[in-house]
Symmetry: C2
Subunit: 356 residues, 2 copies
């Protein structure tokens, strides 16, 4: 273990005072060409790593960070993301961080547009975005780019933007894997119903599109000739959903398997239970409280987890280390796709009851 290089050591080597080194390290300006070159020369020779503990103590300035995501429902996906974000803040409790959270209705493009336009004008040091609508997100990001404000995506990433980083599942692979898992537990060529959300003012969520593509590609690649029945799912008019489901089950077709490309599997589980429909295999996204319950009861066979706590935690941690220590940032971060059954579900609760 080589002995640590301190700012004062660099100063001595470069023949200046620690104040000047500090100004170069933090690009604070007011440094002569000669001094800057001397210091940069030394910095290239030695491997200076600031003592993060001392930095954290000495830091006087505060940071304002804005977080915008779809609305947070209790025990659901976005709550986990926010839990992760707050968890990261706990690690930096001695740094003054002002957090502002704005949520929008992920099924209503006007809500998103309204919130994003509001945010765009605010003062901030950085932004975390849970994107849903590509166009609106691109607009917001353009404004951030102009103002040189770094932003990080969680849950998914959007093309034609320049985020500092993103934390997201590979949604295509996700759909692909769902197809493999569901077909492995149903008879060959059995019908499969796909449950998919519809939204106002836009076609479909970018995540859902990718998952569906992955799903159908798997079936094609493996020459599966299962008949795919698509059921819409409406958030704005929830009363319609029962109708969609009854139509499905009243048709003459057998429905041995249901694939839920979003996290609303518990809704279907409830319908099946209320209508005494048995023997339907089901796979669904995300370990929401309701889904976990349905999984434990055996109504859902597989849940796919995408580490929402980790996504939130890492995006905030990455951001803070970038802002405070100018740490290098890994841009593309695909998270784990956890396959969850009633057997291993109990071990997936890291952030709920303990500290990472």
């Amino acid at each position: 273990m080589q002995k640590k290089v301190r700012i004062i050591d660099i100063a001595k080597m470069a023949g200046v005072s620690k104040g000047t080194v500090d100004r170069v390290l933090h690009s604070r300006g007011n440094v002569s060409e000669a001094a800057r070159i001397a210091i940069e020369g030394v910095l290239e020779k030695v491997n200076y790593k600031p003592n993060i503990h001392v930095s954290a103590i000495s830091l006087k300035r505060s940071y304002k960070i804005i977080v915008t995501t779809p609305e947070i429902s209790l025990g659901a996906y976005w709550e986990s993301i926010h839990n992760g974000i707050h968890h990261a803040l706990e690690e930096y409790e001695n740094v003054k961080i002002e957090l502002q959270v704005f949520t929008y209705n992920q099924y209503d493009i006007y809500s998103c547009r309204h919130i994003f336009e509001k945010i765009a004008g605010f003062e901030m040091d950085a932004l975390i975005v849970g994107p849903t609508f590509p166009e609106e997100t691109i607009n917001l990001c353009k404004k951030m780019d102009d103002r040189d404000i770094p932003y990080i995506f969680v849950d998914s990433t959007i093309d034609s933007t320049a985020p500092l980083a993103f934390y997201s599942a590979d949604h295509y692979v996700c759909g692909f894997m769902m197809a493999k898992l569901i077909t492995s537990i149903i008879p060959e060529n059995a019908n499969i119903a796909i449950f998919q959300a519809v939204r106002t003012g836009d076609k479909s969520a970018n995540t859902t599109v990718l998952r569906k593509k992955g799903f159908t590609d798997y079936l094609e690649n493996n020459r599966c000739s299962n008949l795919i029945l698509t059921i819409p799912f409406s958030v704005t008019a929830p009363e319609d959903n029962e109708m969609y489901l009854s139509r499905l089950f009243q048709s003459q077709r057998e429905v041995p398997a249901i694939v839920v490309l979003n996290s609303r599997g518990n809704f279907i589980a409830d319908y099946l239970e209320a209508n005494h429909i048995k023997g339907v295999r089901m796979i669904c996204m995300d370990l929401t409280a309701a889904n976990v319950e349905a999984l434990k009861k055996g109504q859902i066979d597989y849940l796919i987890g995408q580490e929402p706590e980790y996504q939130g935690f890492s995006s905030m941690k990455t951001l803070l280390e970038y802002l405070i220590f100018k740490s290098p940032v890994k841009k593309q971060n695909y998270v784990q796709l956890d396959i969850i059954t009633r057997e291993n579900v109990g071990f997936y609760k890291r952030f709920n009851n303990t500290v990472y």
Copy 2:
């Protein structure tokens, strides 16, 4: 956010100096009854949390920690555990920690006995143990208990010991889940071969025993009448293994599925490839480099991961926080049992290429 309570604040409230508060907080003695009671009274009212950054800076003493586990092979399970341990040390690079690592041959009880007896006499502040042989581990732990040295288990836990904590998979559930997964992808009542390590001087690893129990319990609970063929696996005489496998495949029985209760699935994959045996479904433990390769080639269908990096990381982190900050410790820590397929394996490499 309530303002932080500092040692000096507590001192003022109790009417003493910060030095005395420090002595109480660290149980350093030399404090009068009256002062101690006054300070403890204040401590109960206020929620004092030391600033870990300042603690880390101010800490002058060093800690000696011993780690003992089975031998480390490249790209294998125990290497990941040690990676996690070192990763935790990086977070505490400013704390002086002297680490000593002792490995033993996990298939040879005499090797373990020898190492454990050696370790028992050494000076140390804490111990991390990857246990294999129950008797030997109990003996070591007894000596640690007598000397008031805290120890933490990784990989598995041993009855009749009093560890500070353990990080382990629930190996029973692990075997149970393996049974469910393998039976879901093979025909009903198909034969299943189980591949199990044998060791000198002892019956079987405690982890393997638990996994096997979970496995057979699943089959019983679900009234599966699959015929189970047990194949031994010898580490001390590896030349025998080919023979065991050829006997299996030369018998008149069909072998549609192989379950590997340890992490040596790649060995079987190689055998099958060399002998042009196809169509065998296989499930195996752990994401060793060789197993991941076999998984990607399609020779293994499922791998079960047990977060070895996290186990090592957490055990060391827990230990350090206990030693340095006297943080409370959660004793029982069952890690995730990750279900890995060729689709999601690429996302399970957190510690390999990035920092948590």
